[in-house]
Symmetry: C2
Subunit: 405 residues, 2 copies
């Protein structure tokens, strides 16, 4: 609702060389998509992040899986994710066209498998819920699972084929979004910014002393005055909005050229534990992920890596021979009801775009569309309107002068 291009009149704000209409804090897939969409609508946008590729987007597996990820009682989240998944192919194509870079989008479906009889019973119960909601899912025998994926262990005793749950490569998607954003005129500042609130509204972003600037000259200590600040810092927003870090650890393996052990995403129940394996066309195989409530902790632990590799090998024994390329841990932003926070929050001029939990990559496009509509005017689809942060009351620090996201 803030007209683009209107100069800020916040008293006392120090000016850099560049006037921004919108500053986006956080350059993962969500922030980069928001910056791009806002710039396409004509805003002068500055994207602030100390290292765009270092956040939770770096660890994400890129499953676009509203059906496989369904949890009982989360119908609002299901509707949101189905909306996002339905538009993802077009969104990915648009990113690719705007950036000249591929996104690794792959419409290859998902196979959920069960290792023992208990796992099979649990999978059947999930399938009943999925089918009751009208979702497309197909029961397979163990033999049918192995026909689809011959490297599965002989112990696999049943599965669910979800033809509509696809995948994208989050690192490539993010690179494409950042390039598309820059081509649309977004300027990047490599620093960890803080939201400045003055006279009861968001007035811009303060950069700490010693921050590395990107292509933008800034004074130190510098403010980036702006009409709107978009907070897309994921779990780092926890100090001021009701999100919490949920640690996830993943391992990245490499399949030899021409010998890909899997053709599609495989999600497994391994004696009541969950594991997934996401194979990319370039040979990468992502194995994930833990779900740990430990506060903001991004240390990789021996036990988590052991468990991931153990369960992945239980499903696909050939995993043992694959190269282990990388292990890492990042924190997802979890919200109290597992729905994201997308919308104006707390003070005028502040837009929240966080709380996506396990669905940040999938939701990045619909989130950015909604943020652009909120700033420039336009319809917010009802599935995203349900994510209005107002459902939790005001953000905690709305009255402080400086929010530290």
């Amino acid at each position: 609702m803030v007209p683009p291009g209107k100069p800020s009149t916040a008293p006392g704000a120090r000016r850099g060389d560049v006037r921004a209409d919108v500053v986006v804090l956080g350059g993962g897939v969500t922030g980069a998509a928001c910056a791009w969409r806002l710039a396409q609508r004509g805003s002068r946008v500055v994207l602030v992040d100390p290292d765009e590729t270092a956040g939770a987007s770096r660890a994400a597996a890129g499953m676009l899986a509203p059906v496989s990820e369904l949890h009982h009682g989360e119908e609002d989240l299901l509707a949101l994710c189905l909306r996002a998944a339905g538009g993802f192919a077009g969104y990915a194509a648009e990113v690719a066209a705007a950036s000249g870079l591929g996104t690794g989008y792959r419409a290859s479906g998902t196979l959920a498998v069960a290792l023992d009889a208990g796992d099979r019973a649990r999978l059947a119960r999930v399938r009943e819920v999925q089918q009751a909601l009208g979702l497309e899912v197909e029961a397979l025998t163990g033999r049918q699972c192995r026909r689809a994926e011959p490297f599965l262990d002989p112990a696999v005793c049943g599965g669910s084929l979800v033809r509509g749950d696809h995948q994208v490569d989050p690192r490539r998607l993010l690179a494409g979004l950042l390039t598309a954003a820059e081509r649309a005129g977004v300027r990047r500042v490599r620093a960890r910014g803080e939201v400045v609130v003055r006279d009861g509204r968001a007035a811009g972003v303060r950069l700490p002393d010693g921050s590395r600037d990107g292509d933008l000259p800034v004074d130190r200590p510098a403010d980036l005055p702006a009409d709107v600040v978009v907070l897309a810092t994921g779990a780092r927003a926890q100090r001021h909005v009701p999100v919490r870090p949920v640690k996830g650890q993943v391992a990245r393996l490499r399949m030899p050229a021409g010998e890909h052990v899997l053709q599609r995403t495989v999600r497994g129940l391994v004696r009541d534990r969950e594991v997934y394996l996401v194979p990319r066309e370039d040979g990468e195989l992502v194995v994930g992920a833990t779900t740990e409530e430990r506060g903001f902790d991004e240390r990789v632990t021996a036990g988590a890596v052991h468990d991931l590799l153990r369960d992945a090998q239980a499903l696909v024994p050939a995993v043992a021979e694959l190269e282990l390329v990388e292990v890492l841990a990042r924190c997802r932003p979890g919200s109290p009801d597992n729905l994201p926070l997308i919308g104006f929050g707390g003070v005028p001029g502040l837009v929240l775009a966080t709380g996506q939990y396990r669905n940040g990559v999938l939701l990045s496009g619909v989130t950015a569309d909604a943020v652009a509509a909120l700033v420039h005017g336009g319809d917010v689809v009802p599935e995203v309107a349900a994510c209005d942060p107002g459902r939790f009351g005001s953000p905690r620090a709305a009255r402080e002068e400086v929010l530290v996201p």
Copy 2:
């Protein structure tokens, strides 16, 4: 036997700016120690390695363990390793004094433990052999093991305490050796060199086009003429001497400050598999190591990392909570009889210093002493004299013009 300082007269050798008496190929702990000892004796030494810290020394755990590492029928190797272990404290102190850098030498002993009754029986048989050879080793009950190391699993049912098997930090030792070598006048060239053989003798080292030089100006393609070439390239020497690469994979964990889960090296038999855990004073905990015959292959595999972490956790459950900092794979140089190759080899002027297999760090000091004695004159101790490469006949490529190690 070659007097230092005598200029090379090999016909056709191209000259760089610097005349070397000795070129040492390979800058791991063995090559760096040889270069240092030779320079101390007055040789002008050039050390050639594309990246000294990237070889097998990088993965080594640094166990100084002649007693724990004893294998039946390897009495020559035992004698060599005991000689090296007896002198190691003095050697480490000398490196530290010459470099001003610590080596992480730690006289903390080794505890070998057994997880099940079969493991305990195997450990007892090994102990009988050790004691029959007059080695100092002490039988412990499971309870005594846990009293020494309280984080051991309750299932640990017996052990052997080897008070004389200590440890050093190979990365710190190598950094100290390289600094000591430079302070003694050794010049370093960062390139992968090739031995040049002319008129039936080693004439120097050829550097490939495009090699990165260190502090030494060289022509391209450049020869470093020298009277003596020391071949210390570990498993990379396989093309021309009878060594083979034996892959080892290790994991590096980190113990929290003030909460070290182990006080000394723990070697375990875990249902007939071997694993070791080496705790450093700075909090690093090295878990190793696989022994794989796969040719020259330095890929980390999912299965190996899984197995190491599984067995380490079986001995010390708290390992699950430790940070996993690094995984890596390197190739040890194995010889046909597990004894190293130390001595003149094949052609005059060529000295071999490879084939150390699992004992490269432990043997680096005695190897360097022997190489210096061979070049400058002096006694080679009998334990090292047993490592004369002549026991395998001439190296394979002695008649070729260029050896590619």
